[in-house]
């Protein structure tokens, strides 16, 4: 049986389309057929409009541009603005919002000739590690529908794993690309802060957010990163650094490179994940890499630091959702007196204030409300120094840890997540337990360094396990090079969930 087009990798499709061996229409039809069949149960997409996507392809075929992704569908997370397409960040408060402009990463995909498929499902405002907080219903893990795909880019990861996406963009503020990549058995990369433009990425925590690829293999990851990376005049925090040839880096030798192995807090680390990591280290050693013990003494404070800094920034960024200029507005206002918190109660009872209070109370889900309140608390007078200022100082210490560790090695090797995918509902009622599932990923965001997750095993229950590689700033090429060598020596990236195999061969 021939391999269905939707099951191929980005680089295979690119070659076939360039050689005239595959009609992009056949590819898109195959993908849309799989989406219509699998998405109702998987919910990797919030919604897909086949007519609009097909029309987009026809326009591309007629007018180009014939770039490196010509005719290939790329899925994007629901927090990356696509002009004229509903982009709601997984939230009721932005439902119906159709941005009047493209995010820069979306624009770059289009300039590369891709067909953009919007609305990969996500935790509301990327607040979560399971995609269960989406206002549009949870995404299921293609390996086991009783389990979560991870999050917040769970829709992107599940879509790639189930072959209902060729490749996808996600965003990562504390692990939101890498942890779902690990849970779904795909490759995910969070670039260096500043490597990829954040223009049109709906802000969660502006000093931590980065967009990046989720793909079927490392080569696809390099290809997609080379399309989206680079400075953008519309994002003053995008770095004025040249973009290296990431594809060329894949074939560079790894013999003699040093892999840093940090001592890690092991509470909560699943022994199966620890065993998979040890085996991965042996594979890297067989490839000629030399293990170097390193210290990251402040990494065990990553979760605390993150939940101060990220919620503080989120509470500020989300202040803009007031129901006035765009998005959703509450129309059902309570009849009784509104609480004024010491403010003139009569002004809280009519006019704009009840509209603000109710729009935000009804428009945000429970986790978004929790984070806004937490962020407001740590920024408020009397608590600022003890929480926010202290958080920023520990962030400095964490950055120094990474500078020191990465001066002794070429890449760090860590687990991506402490466990394989957990069950739906398992951690939803205990926010702190949910936050701890990002314990190994968060510090890379705080330090601003690049990090990627690569499949490195399956648990006894048949669930994917991921390894994490972390590099020095702007050393994505080094991560891709090591990841590619590892991938060639193993076959974990070729394992597919039974769901993906349905109706295809691979």
């Amino acid at each position: 049986m021939p391999v269905a087009p939707a099951a191929l990798t980005l680089h295979e499709l690119r070659e076939q389309i360039a050689a005239g061996a595959l009609d992009p229409r056949a590819l898109l039809r195959d993908l849309l057929e799989r989406i219509s069949r699998l998405n109702p149960s998987l919910r990797a997409y919030i919604a897909v409009d086949p007519e609009r996507v097909l029309a987009q392809l026809e326009a591309r075929l007629q007018h180009g541009p014939r770039g490196p992704l010509f005719g290939i569908p790329i899925t994007v997370k629901d927090n990356l603005c696509v002009s004229g397409e509903e982009t709601a960040c997984g939230s009721q408060i932005l439902s119906g919002f159709r941005p009047p402009y493209h995010a820069t990463v979306v624009e770059r995909l289009l300039q590369a000739g891709a067909v953009v498929i919007p609305r990969a499902n996500m935790d509301e405002f990327a607040f979560g590690s399971s995609t269960e907080t989406s206002a549009f219903g949870p995404t299921r893990n293609p390996w086991d529908p009783a389990r979560v795909p991870g999050g917040s880019s769970g829709g992107s990861a599940a879509a790639v794993a189930a072959d209902v996406a060729i490749a996808a963009l996600g965003t990562d503020t504390g692990g939101s690309i890498r942890q779902p990549a690990s849970f779904c058995g795909v490759v995910g990369l969070k670039p260096t802060y500043g490597r990829v433009s954040r223009y049109g990425l709906i802000a969660f925590a502006s000093s931590l957010d980065q967009a990046g690829p989720l793909t079927k293999d490392v080569t696809d990851c390099a290809l997609l990163l080379s399309v989206i990376a680079g400075q953008d005049a519309r994002d003053s925090t995008s770095a004025p650094m040249p973009v290296p040839d990431y594809l060329a880096a894949l074939s560079e030798p790894v013999k003699g490179l040093r892999v840093g192995v940090p001592a890690l807090p092991s509470d909560g680390l699943d022994p199966q994940v620890a065993a998979a990591l040890e085996e991965a280290q042996r594979v890297l050693e067989r490839l000629g890499m030399r293990p170097v013990p390193v210290e990251l003494p402040h990494i065990r404070h990553a979760v605390e630091t993150y939940y101060i800094i990220a919620t503080a920034e989120a509470s500020s960024n989300l202040a803009r959702y007031d129901g006035v200029r765009y998005g959703w507005r509450a129309t059902a206002l309570p009849a009784g007196p509104a609480r004024g918190g010491g403010i003139d109660a009569s002004s809280a009872q009519r006019g704009l204030l009840p509209m603000y209070l109710q729009t935000r109370a009804q428009g945000f889900g429970a986790e978004a409300v929790r984070r806004i309140l937490l962020g407001t608390y740590v920024l408020s007078r009397g608590y600022y120094d003890a929480y926010y200022l202290q958080g920023m100082k520990v962030r400095t210490l964490m950055k120094r840890d990474f500078d020191a560790a990465l001066a002794q090695c070429d890449a760090l090797l860590l687990p991506t997540a402490p466990t394989p995918a957990f069950r739906l509902g398992e951690k939803l009622a205990d926010p702190l337990q949910m936050y701890l599932s990002d314990i190994y990923t968060i510090s890379a965001n705080l330090a601003g360094v690049p990090a990627m997750s690569v499949p490195c095993g399956l648990s006894r229950e048949g669930l994917p396990i991921g390894l994490q590689l972390i590099g020095a700033p702007f050393q994505e090429a080094m991560l891709l090079r090591v990841a590619r060598a590892y991938e060639q020596a193993t076959d974990w990236h070729r394992r597919r969930p039974a769901l993906a195999a349905a109706g295809t061969a691979r």
């Binding site: 119906g96 919002f97 159709r98 009047p100 500043g194 000093s207 005049a233 003053s236 925090t237 770095a239 004025p240 404070h301 979760v303 605390e304 630091t305 939940y307 101060i308 202040a319 006035v324 200029r325 765009y326 998005g327 959703w328 507005r329 609480r339 004024g340 918190g341 010491g342 009519r350 006019g351 704009l352 009840p354 509209m355 603000y356 209070l357 109710q358 935000r360 109370a361 409300v369 929790r370 309140l373 937490l374 407001t376 608390y377 408020s380 929480y387 202290q390 958080g391 920023m392 100082k393 520990v394 962030r395 400095t396 210490l397 950055k399 926010p431 702190l432 936050y435 601003g448 700033p473």
Partner: protein, 98 residues
């Protein structure tokens, strides 16, 4: 040890302009308290001589040429509002003239 009181949640919710019903305040306070109790471990780390990091990139005062570009047309911008009339965004009455 409980630190966050329902009254504090009420005050913070007001600052954040989110209506949290009275009967939910104790539960929200307990959840915030749980998280803050964990987060407070950070306060034991000595940081007297450490500068805070708000941003990791060594970039400051990024400028570009001061060249005007066409703005978003008013009708496109106003069309995004949940309630509008003509080129205007409609909101509940702000000024009480009665």
């Amino acid at each position: 040890m409980s630190v966050v009181t329902p009254a504090e949640v009420r005050a913070v919710a007001w600052l954040a302009r989110i209506d949290v019903p009275e009967d939910r305040l104790p539960q929200v306070a307990a959840q915030l308290d749980d998280i803050l109790a964990y987060v407070r471990k950070l306060q034991a780390i000595p940081t007297q001589s450490v500068e805070p990091t708000s941003h990791v990139l060594p970039l400051s005062n990024v400028t570009r040429a001061d060249q005007p570009v066409p703005p978003l047309p008013a009708e496109q911008a106003v069309r995004l509002a949940p309630d509008q009339r003509g080129h205007l965004v409609r909101v509940p009455k702000v000024v009480d003239v009665g």
